[in-house]
């Protein structure tokens, strides 16, 4: 509850509010957030304010634990990738995309199974996101959202590598979908900046030429 101009309001979505007003409330300063989910709140608040301002979204508040910061960002990425997956489900059929590929260089094996499997692209996408959801919510590896176990920090890199392939498959095989989605969310751009900034993936593996394209994506779409 916050007092603003003498009237009390709550940052909550009452049933019946319109899609436009969903989560539309005045920003709360990060210092004033006392919830255990403060980092998620803050990240989502920044994204809502301006999804294209990637650098600001990735700018960590002072005195913030970096592992938690990375972890919460990765959660947000996986969550927003559901949006891309929904679009891919309509177009990426297992008959056409029998394997998870981007450029012809690599075929990615799906690690969600006991023995890695050559899943069709759409299955790879879903399995990878489902697996990431389980891992990032696992009580074993990430029991807390306010402090991350030292031993689990490495998991963030492997999750990043796997989910990045969803971007690359969409970019190289379903370009229209990719561009539509990217224009709305700037997600691949943010993701690329994120993994680069925190050194979660090697430069060579970032095969979607998103950073160089800066400013040109819109005209292409």
């Amino acid at each position: 509850m916050k007092m603003a101009d003498g009237c009390v309001f709550f940052r909550r979505n009452r049933p019946g509010i319109t899609a436009k007003n969903f989560c539309r409330w005045p920003d709360e300063p990060f210092e004033e957030m006392d919830s255990t989910l403060a980092v998620q709140q803050y990240i989502q608040q920044m994204i809502r304010r301006d999804p294209s301002n990637v650098d600001l979204i990735l700018k960590m508040p002072e005195a913030q634990d970096e592992a938690v910061w990375k972890y919460e960002h990765l959660r947000q990425f996986c969550m927003e990738l559901n949006g891309l997956t929904v679009r891919l489900q309509a177009e990426c059929h297992p008959e056409a995309c029998t394997q998870m590929t981007a450029t012809e260089q690599w075929i990615f094996l799906c690690a969600a199974h006991k023995t890695p499997k050559e899943c069709p692209a759409i299955d790879y996408t879903r399995h990878t996101l489902d697996g990431a959801a389980c891992l990032l919510n696992s009580n074993k590896y990430f029991p807390s959202r306010v402090s991350i176990k030292e031993s689990s920090v490495a998991k963030l890199g492997s999750v990043s590598r796997r989910v990045y392939r969803i971007f690359s498959h969409a970019y190289y095989h379903h370009r229209t979908i990719f561009d539509e989605f990217e224009n709305e969310t700037f997600l691949c751009r943010r993701f690329t900046a994120f993994v680069t900034k925190y050194n979660l993936m090697s430069k060579e593996s970032l095969i979607v030429p998103i950073m160089e394209e800066e400013g040109t994506t819109e005209s292409e779409a």
Binding site: M1, F10, R11, R12, N13, R14, P15, G16, I17, T18, A19, F22, W25, E28, S35, T36, L37, Q40, Q41, R75, Q76, C78, M79, N82, G83, T85, V86, Q89, P94, C110, A112, H113, C119, P120, I122, D123, R126, H127, L129, D130, G131, A133, C134, L136, N137, S138, N139, K140
Partner: protein
């Protein structure tokens, strides 16, 4: 039910009189205010709805409901007693087994001591002979000790004299425990195999307990040689105290056997109703400690629990688990393992009983209480008190973690231990409560989702389930209502994508769909949206949209439900009032409002009574009679906005969730809070977003803004 007819008579009388008293009380205190619905003349009970008209309220359905209600209550209590009884009987048998094991071990040790003693004597004699050249004359026997297994019934006669006899035995109590369990395991196996041949089983039990020739109850109670003694004794005492109520068995042993049989039978019955199984029960104990650690404001039951008890219980459960694994093939043994879980279950609902393995003093108290309860069976007046003492306490057991953002809604499968959650992360997830991840000690059981439904392009806000559990419906911020065909509850979570899971999409709303309600009998679905409309759908038919309801003066709805006792009506909540519509004509037939009403977040109709319950932003829960359009009761229910409501299938309890982070269970009858559980954390100013009762199993669930859903048993 075996309630004598005179009981039924008195029950009716008691309660109808007390009901009318209640009624009068409400009138005089002015809570039963006629509301401002005077404009709606179509309503029978319209303008003159004052005290006189109200008094003769005994309608046939009302009385029937009351009888039904009482009957279910009695049934509930009865099954509770049976559970408790079975539990204690099982415990007696268990302790008997333990004791037997210890006795064996002790005998074994005694034998070794005697051997050593003998060897020492021999050695001394030899030494003496060497030194003095003469034979040592020893008083007493020089024969090697003869040990006969199975004869030794009285532990004291062997070691009794030796003061140091006790020390070694206590030090090896661990091994003896294990042996005891071994024996218990054997014993249970026997029961499982021969559940038709009672005689054989009795003799088995008898021989296993080593009581074949034993009629002396004192002998039974001979103190065992380790710390387990007090509870052992109590258990026996308890059985003694129960016997008078039954036919008189000739010995304690027989009584125990008879009781065990009865308990086993009772449990078979119980299983037929509830179909419990091992997986459901495992985590009971662990959960509580988990909650103690995690919750800033832990609920009382969890405080009583100690780590030791936890470890103990877990060990026993593992033992039983192991047993099921070993004995997978014969059906009998599987059944018995579920019995055991059922027995355990009986113990857990009462928080005090959690201490049973740790605190023998407390246990005595419990046993005494149990005896009192048994006596109460004969006197109606006692029923109220027993109800209090045997009331179920819910504990968080399963944590459903896999969503990335707030869980907005959840819905249970009509029959299976399966539920679906819907989240701000754009997905729905399917969970099978039997598919839990192996949890480490003192953590609640984590469930891994079986299937993720993706098709909404924004947060998913509401859910409904069809009567068979084959279809479920979800409404989203994207204005879509999707109809999903549920995958099998045993699907591989990483199976290939099957587009046909999304069987249909109901289009019509032009803005966020915030609520769904299912009328199972007609397979009709209600939805309401931020576009201001309420729509009635028949999802299976060719043109699914049946009707649209709008109330111009009220604006955008905030909740919707079918009126369950009059199937041609539905109730829609608006910011200022709840409006009852006729489903056919689409006209509003009643307005439910109180002067101070503000912001209804959820409205639900009682399954059998003409009662509508509304959860308000102003922390109130209000109960309306939708026929007379009167406010029946209003109460401040939470510390913050009440967001969600659910009524149990029998209409006896109400569950509410609030942004104050807690869920509360209410007695529908007297509107008292039965239990409060702190369940979720806050994200911004939101905390609990939905609650639910399982339609046919003892589960309740809550969904939180913290991306978790929890299931309580």
């Amino acid at each position: 039910m075996k309630v004598p007819s005179q009981f039924c008579g008195s029950t009716m009388e008691e309660n109808s009189s007390s009901a009318s008293q209640n009624h009068n009380g409400q009138l005089s205190s002015g809570a039963n205010v006629p509301l401002t619905n005077n404009k709606h003349q179509g309503n029978d009970n319209g303008t003159n709805g004052d005290a006189k008209n109200e008094r003769p309220q005994y309608s046939m359905p009302g009385i029937l409901h009351f009888i039904q209600h009482e009957w279910t209550r009695f049934e509930l209590e009865r099954s509770q007693w049976e559970l408790d009884k079975a539990e204690f009987q099982a415990r007696i048998a268990f302790l008997q087994g333990e004791r037997k094991g210890q006795e064996r071990l002790k005998n074994d040790l005694v034998r070794r001591i005697k051997m050593l003693e003998y060897a020492l004597k021999q050695e001394r004699a030899r030494y003496h002979k060497l030194k003095y050249g003469t034979d040592l004359v020893i008083q007493g026997d020089t024969k090697p000790p003869i040990y006969e297994e199975g004869i030794c019934n009285c532990p004291n006669s062997d070691v009794g004299g030796g003061g140091d006899g006790e020390a070694p035995f206590t030090s090896v109590s661990n091994i003896s425990w294990r042996q005891g369990r071994q024996i218990l395991r054997q014993y249970l196996q026997e029961i499982g195999y021969t559940d038709t041949i009672i005689d054989v089983r009795s003799s088995r039990v008898r021989s296993l307990l080593g009581l074949s020739n034993n009629t002396d109850s004192e002998d039974m109670n001979t103190p065992a040689l380790n710390g387990n003694e007090p509870s052992n004794k109590q258990a026996s005492e308890n059985s003694v105290r129960r016997i008078p109520g039954k036919k008189q068995p000739s010995s304690i042993a027989e009584a125990i056997i008879l009781d065990t049989e009865a308990a086993v039978m009772a449990n078979f019955e119980f299983l037929a109703h509830t179909d419990m199984d091992m997986e459901e029960e495992e985590g009971d104990v662990e959960d509580d400690t988990y909650d103690t650690n995690m919750d800033p404001k832990p609920n009382k039951p969890s405080m009583l629990l100690t780590e030791d008890v936890d470890a103990e219980a877990e060990e026993v459960l593992n033992e039983l688990n192991l047993l099921t694994e070993i004995e997978e093939s014969p059906p009998g043994s599987i059944r018995y393992s579920s019995e055991w879980s059922a027995i355990r279950r009986g113990g857990h609902p009462d928080p005090k009983r959690l201490n049973e393995e740790g605190d023998s003093a407390l246990e005595l108290g419990e046993l005494e209480q149990l005896c009192v309860n048994n006596e109460a069976e004969t006197s109606y007046d006692m029923v109220a008190t027993t109800k209090e003492s045997l009331r179920k306490t819910w504990n968080a057991k399963y944590t459903l973690r896999s969503h990335f953002d707030a869980v907005r809604a959840l819905v249970f499968h009509p029959t299976d231990p399966v539920l679906i959650t819907a989240s701000d992360d754009h997905t729905l997830k399917l969970w099978n409560l039997h598919k839990t991840l192996p949890a480490k000690k003192s953590a609640s059981l984590d469930v891994e989702p079986l299937y993720t439904f993706r098709s909404h392009t924004g947060p998913v806000l509401c859910l409904a389930m069809c009567s068979t559990g084959s279809q479920c419906y979800s409404g989203g911020l994207d204005g879509m209502i999707h109809c999903w065909t549920l995958p099998s509850a045993n699907i591989d979570p990483y199976d290939s994508y099957e587009p046909s899971v999304l069987s249909q999409t109901l289009k019509g709303h032009t803005n966020a769909v915030w609520g769904l309600s299912m009328y199972q009998l007609r397979s009709q679905l209600l939805s309401f949206s931020a576009d201001g409309t309420v729509k009635l759908w028949s999802p299976q038919s060719k043109s699914p949209l049946l009707h649209t309801y709008i109330s111009e003066q009220d604006g955008i709805p905030t909740s919707v439900d079918f009126i369950r006792d009059e199937s041609n009506k539905l109730v829609v909540a608006y910011d200022r009032a709840c409006v009852v519509f006729d489903t056919e004509t689409g006209e509003s037939v009643a307005r439910l409002e109180a002067n101070e009403t503000k912001g209804v977040n959820r409205v639900v109709a009682h399954p059998t009574l003409p009662l509508v319950v509304a959860a308000h932003e102003d922390r109130h829960i209000r109960f309306y009679d939708h026929r007379s359009a009167t406010l029946a009761h209003a109460m401040v229910a939470h510390l913050d906005a009440v967001t969600s409501l659910a009524v149990d299938p029998h209409g006896l309890y109400l569950l509410s969730g609030s942004h104050d982070c807690s869920i509360r269970l209410w007695n529908m009858d007297n509107k008292t809070c039965v239990q409060e559980i702190t369940a979720h954390r806050k994200k911004f100013d939101e905390s609990i977003l939905d609650v639910a009762f399982h339609p046919s199993r003892p589960f309740i669930a809550s969904a939180g803004a913290d991306a978790l859903a929890k299931v309580y048993v």
